[in-house]
Subunit: 288 residues, 4 copies
């Protein structure tokens, strides 16, 4: 009944109401779609329902248009926002970087080896440094320098590139710039950022130096969606590394980079596999 | 719609067939049972379907008998084995121990503080050493010594106790005895064992000493169901601890005990929360 | 040459100067003390030297008095603060608790089974709840209730108890009270506290609820020395647990407690084994 | 007294004898070498002493030749094998690969960004696949195909290359070939290998498939020195990843690769920083 063919992914969210699961699964069964895996969760505080289904159509004439046509009226009854993702969907991801390449290198490696099912049609940076790495991967690299004066223009240029390349997701792979409220709004829910996240949290300049002053024994990283509060958007995933007294600030930075790149990769992977749902200031993540 | 009332748990497994999810969720919706959470998984190798649902009945006259009556014929069509577990279900757990108390102490603490929803009506040991700990928790303690000659009789006595106390689950909390094939068969799928599990695996006597000889840098533990191959039953969960060259065999034992007790607790918790399904020599675990 | 006899521990700290190691190791060799293990570290920022040596005297007439007499003048040249700890040293530890028993239960279990080489001559609490647990371990339990008005008197009573029982170390095992500056000063460097430590850090009331609002994917704990800034004293060790969206605030609390007790145990163990050195606002920890 | 200049590293091992530490530290002090960090360990089973010191010469006329001349006779008394490593020492590392590039890519990235202080003068493979990656890093790539018949000749060619390029360390970064006993002997203690290491250990073909059959909940990796028993040489470090029932064999392979590359990197780093000592079938690792 099951097959090695990669499944389609159906995701949906709506207010918590009796019958939310049934309206989906009944349609799947009636249409002869084989359900390989379900995760559903009902957030009893937010009073919101989330579901992710992997399914394999059994008939040859399956089409997403037909699915949409048949399912739309059912979804409407529940104010359900839903999405259908095809098996080999490769979202178009723009990677934005500054001078640090640890995250970029890791993402491109995962991309090149098929661990990350994405297209990377463009890399954008405010510095020229990482162009050779982009070149080796045959990816166009745009150097858009930024100063306080040119910021509005530079951000407009960024948006133009994102539209020109028809981008689905922006990954801020250590872009190191504070985005304007306008750009944040534009990217809301469509951009993933990585930032250091230490125990206890340190804000402001030189966070690793502050952490060292406090003698932390762990450094961490948080991957989150961008929203209007740049470093405080909804968290997707977090990672941690142990350190000790022999780690000076520069060693904390190195350890931090290792956990940053793994954490960012996991967040992008979850997003691409449609495992992440926004729920107000939080996320529901059906990880694996 | 949702409520702080703890939900009922529905679990089921059957061969992979179109409509397995629908038969369940359709009944839930039709009966007005609110679905709080679903995990389903279809093992494409074993061609078997597994589902776990937490749901909250919305009507006052809900009864498991009525559920069974109405659902039975639907289940039959799919050769579905299913189970309904009430919100405050506390399975009756017999703990079997030898002289080591690290696992027993941890389980009783979790039991006493409500982290583990179980009854512990009886503790059985082949040694008298841990009776005081049992006494403090007001739990009957049976000292059933064992020798090569008395083994058949001792195991018969164990089984008699398990039946007398109407036991749902046996936890071998470092019982340190090789069970006879007969007792293994009796306990098949109804007993959880914990054993050391090192990298690479070491069999036979003094495993931690063997591991030390090899200079391992990690020690681990595996919690699994008992089957006829005592230490090779289906794995429920595994844990790991880092060690270094300064850990002599006795230190490895101490580190191993720490990870054994956490790992055993997690396995029992998953079992009690109906998160574990047997699938041949493997398990499906909807952990959290 | 080495022996299964547990070694003596020598610890020292002094300003960074040429010859700090030599003054110690030369004396060890000249006195016929066999050195089993050395850790030394020179903090190049604080310009301070730290050393911990495990050694086994080879002669029968070894005495700490003789060691002191011979070594004192050598230490003086380097303004070296040093300490000699005998093999079976069991510091006298007072445990202070409130109503939560997860840390207390763990410490007493480790104490009872010899994993933690300490005496626990007294347990002090502002609530009566945990007396039965203390009783089972035959440890005097003092219930010293506290209100805003009685705080000065209660703290005076606490200090009196600490002196009466000749306490070396105070462990705040979820004592849940804000100590007065006076008591903090009294306990400076002689008390270990455990507090939740989340990513990012949350201060104020209901930290786990705040963390849940932010949708954190990890909860943590920090064990640290008490100083005048109650929750910000020098960090000894930190621990972390993964969580997900299905963990409501009460679940975060439960997960947090598990990591709190392990983290506090590790901190106390490191302290007792003389592995922790204060270095300003930081610590040097020769962990194992 | 200390300085941001990277320190020299002194490492030594000899039988356990009174005075082993003193002979080293006394010379350091007498010569005016500032000791930044010491780790020593006395293996009471192997009766062997190990020491690693980071030190900063204070005089301008320091030379390793002078050190050797002055220290040699002292070392001789203790049958001490010792080594002096200069601050910017970059050992010459040959990387051997097959078709998998996850380890190679990671090592080259760390090399390129300075996280790993090594020269990589040559990459050797029995397949042509990874040549482009080598080219981008400007590293000569030798494709030496191998069959049962050509194995002796191929291994002779490998050895010739290792000598031609004056190689200090060989890293088998998933080379996937069983080395002949002769080549093993040649590489004894001078080559690091990475292999999967699962719980419980699985030997033979398709280890991840075997592990999946058993339903393991963790996959791991072990980095070790090559000796005559190919996959059983002295362990340097080990790593682990959690998996669950939804990971089919190919998913276990992917998870395994992630932990393989980190584990291999750590092993190479420890070796390069002179943190690893062989002690019979085990290692002493002064990790950080």
């Amino acid at each position: 009944m099951t097959s090695p063919i990669k499944p389609w992914i159906f995701t949906a969210t709506c207010p918590s109401l009796l019958g939310t699961v049934d309206v989906v699964t009944r349609y799947m069964a009636a249409s002869g779609h084989y359900v390989d895996e379900i995760h559903s969760f009902d957030d009893r505080e937010a009073k919101r329902f989330f579901i992710r289904i992997e399914f394999t159509p059994q008939s040859d004439d399956f089409s997403p248009e037909k699915f949409a046509e048949e399912f739309a009226s059912r979804a409407e009854q529940f104010q359900m926002e839903w999405e259908l993702t095809e098996p080999n969907h490769r979202p178009r991801v723009a990677i934005m970087v500054s001078k640090y390449d640890h995250c970029l290198n890791d993402l491109l490696y995962r991309h090149r080896t098929g661990q990350l099912n994405i297209e990377v049609p463009v890399i954008i940076s405010n510095h020229p440094d990482l162009e050779p790495l982009a070149k080796w991967h045959d990816i166009p690299y745009y150097h858009l320098p930024i100063t306080a004066e040119t910021k509005p223009q530079q951000e407009a240029d960024v948006i133009k590139l994102l539209e020109q390349y028809d981008i689905d997701l922006v990954v801020l792979a250590r872009y190191m710039q504070v985005l304007s409220p306008d750009l944040c709004r534009y990217l809301d829910g469509k951009a993933i950022n990585i930032h250091h996240s230490l125990l206890p949290g340190f804000k402001g300049a030189k966070p690793y130096h502050q952490a060292w002053e406090k003698g932390v024994k762990m450094v961490g990283a948080t991957a989150h969606y961008v929203n209007n509060d740049l470093d405080e958007g909804p968290i997707i995933t977090q990672g941690i590394q142990q350190v000790d007294h022999a780690h000076y600030p520069e060693d904390l930075v190195a350890k931090g980079q290792d956990i940053e790149r793994v954490t960012l990769f996991n967040a992008v992977r979850y997003h691409v596999q449609k495992r992440v749902f926004l729920s107000g200031s939080r996320t529901v993540v059906f990880s694996n």
